[in-house]
């Protein structure tokens, strides 16, 4: 396993199975004893560059750095930056890298984080690049699954919702495929998993199936990963209200499901996941969101060399 020191976190494709497990182990340590690491990055400055707003991800990255004893600066919206004046991404990154020790970046353009990592000599943490990757989300999803199930191997994992544009689904499915999980996909017509990705899974020997709904599979599902069906994705040819009717997880769905089923959702949710599910033992999405802190603490600590 190569060292994480100085490394950028851009895409789940960059990590071996062992490296993924190592990040999850460090996350578990951060989760158990966060106070032990409270002063581990004194004087270090973390720049959070959000060229596209995302309150949750930004706050969770900043909270993670503050808990490690570092300082944070950045912007939450590109409206007030030089990008609006036409500055290239390369120039923005060159400038910021001279102000900070580490950068987290969210950008609407796919591949922007990879480009930034080639320009900067300091590590870049990809906090989402368009519809492409959002690796810290995938690490926290994996950590949540491992925490709940005690393992990542040989699980039956269902994905439901917008599987076409949902980057969290793509990278999680990709990662779970390396742990011999069986994957089930359910989505409205027109929002299915991209065929390239399915081909890639098939080539890697990952077992997967596409279903109309989860009725026949829910008795054996270990994990159900629900994502929001985004209204903005619907053109005139698809009726959003009609489509979303069939994609709702409520208490009635839970009848007949595996009693050990756990439901994840990257949040925010709309009505694909009813609030009545929140109080059931199946719901772990708020814990999942909270796991963003130890996961991002682990990633920051690893690339900054505070842990190895």
């Amino acid at each position: 396993m190569s060292t994480f020191l100085g490394r950028s976190i851009i895409s789940m494709r960059d990590f071996t199975r062992d490296e993924i497990l190592h990040v999850l182990e460090v996350t578990a340590v951060m989760d158990r004893e966060p106070e032990k690491f409270a002063g581990s990055l004194p004087g270090k400055i973390f720049a959070t560059l959000f060229f596209e707003p995302s309150t949750r991800t930004r706050l969770s990255f900043e909270s993670a750095m503050l808990r490690l004893g570092g300082k944070v600066m950045g912007f939450a919206d590109p409206g007030s930056t030089s990008t609006k004046k036409g500055e290239s991404l390369a120039d923005s990154i060159k400038i910021v890298e001279s102000y900070a020790d580490l950068i987290a970046m969210r950008h609407p353009v796919e591949g922007s984080a990879r480009l930034a990592s080639e320009i900067a000599d300091i590590p870049i943490l990809n906090a989402g690049d368009g519809a492409n990757q959002h690796p810290s989300q995938t690490f926290l999803d994996l950590y949540t699954i491992k925490q709940e199930k005690g393992r990542l191997e040989n699980l039956k994992v269902g994905f439901m919702g917008d599987l076409k544009y949902g980057r969290t689904v793509h990278s999680l499915a990709h990662a779970l495929g390396r742990f011999n999980c069986e994957l089930y996909f359910v989505s409205p017509k027109g929002l299915e998993m991209p065929s390239d990705l399915l081909e890639e899974l098939a080539k890697a020997g990952v077992a997967f199936r596409e279903f109309e709904n989860f009725e026949s599979a829910k008795g054996s599902l270990d994990i159900l990963y629900v994502t929001r069906i985004q209204r903005e994705r619907f053109g005139a040819d698809l009726d959003y209200d009609k489509v979303r009717e069939g994609y709702n997880i409520s208490k009635s769905f839970l009848e007949g499901c595996n009693p050990d089923l756990r439901i994840l959702h990257p949040l925010p949710r709309v009505d694909e996941l009813s609030e009545e599910v929140d109080s059931t033992p199946y719901a772990i999405y708020f814990r999942q969101a909270a796991n963003g802190i130890p996961t991002r603490m682990a990633l920051i600590s690893l690339v900054m060399g505070a842990v190895s």
């Binding site: 494709r13 796919e110 591949g111 922007s112 480009l115 690049d129 368009g130 492409n132």
Partner: protein, 156 residues
């Protein structure tokens, strides 16, 4: 050299030393001229021929460049645009070396990513593709992580 090919190469003048690119797809002959940097500033003798009869390809193009040998980058570019091309290295009017181009493992700068929201298109930076599969051709953009098929290949 096959007869038809001999005829075709005889149609345009022979060179003492340099490179003959043969079996070019006639649709891309002038694209190859462009990517090899052959323009009105060039000093060397260059002959460009297209739509010669070819048994294997139907029609083909040929480019002869006197006193110039292709760099690896030239060969890589050529292989992307015209995968059936052959390169002949000429010395003393003789073919000293002949090879069929091979698709490179990584293609830098010359291709346009089909994803309009890829950073290489938005910021106009250098593109980079990894070869996943040669036949049928499948490339992977290392930036936006999308796949590109043969019919989507476009030279920048």
């Amino acid at each position: 050299m096959k007869n038809e090919s001999k005829k075709a190469t005889r149609t345009i003048s022979q060179i003492e030393k340099g490179t003959v690119i043969d079996h070019l797809n006639p649709r891309v002959v002038f694209e190859v001229v462009r990517i090899l940097g052959i323009d009105d500033q060039i000093e060397e003798t260059v002959t460009v021929g297209t739509n010669f009869q070819s048994k294997a390809l139907g029609k083909k193009g040929i480019i002869k460049i006197a006193d110039r040998f292709l760099t690896q980058e030239d060969v890589d570019k050529l292989s992307v645009i015209s995968p059936n091309a052959t390169v002949n290295i000429i010395e003393d009017y003789e073919v000293k070396k002949k090879f069929k181009v091979k698709f490179p493992e990584e293609v830098k700068a010359i291709l346009k990513c089909p994803n309009p929201n890829c950073v290489t298109n938005v910021e106009g930076t250098e593109s980079r593709f990894k070869l996943v599969q040669e036949s049928p051709i499948l490339l992977f953009c290392i930036y936006c992580e999308r796949y590109m098929r043969g019919n989507e290949i476009e030279i920048r």
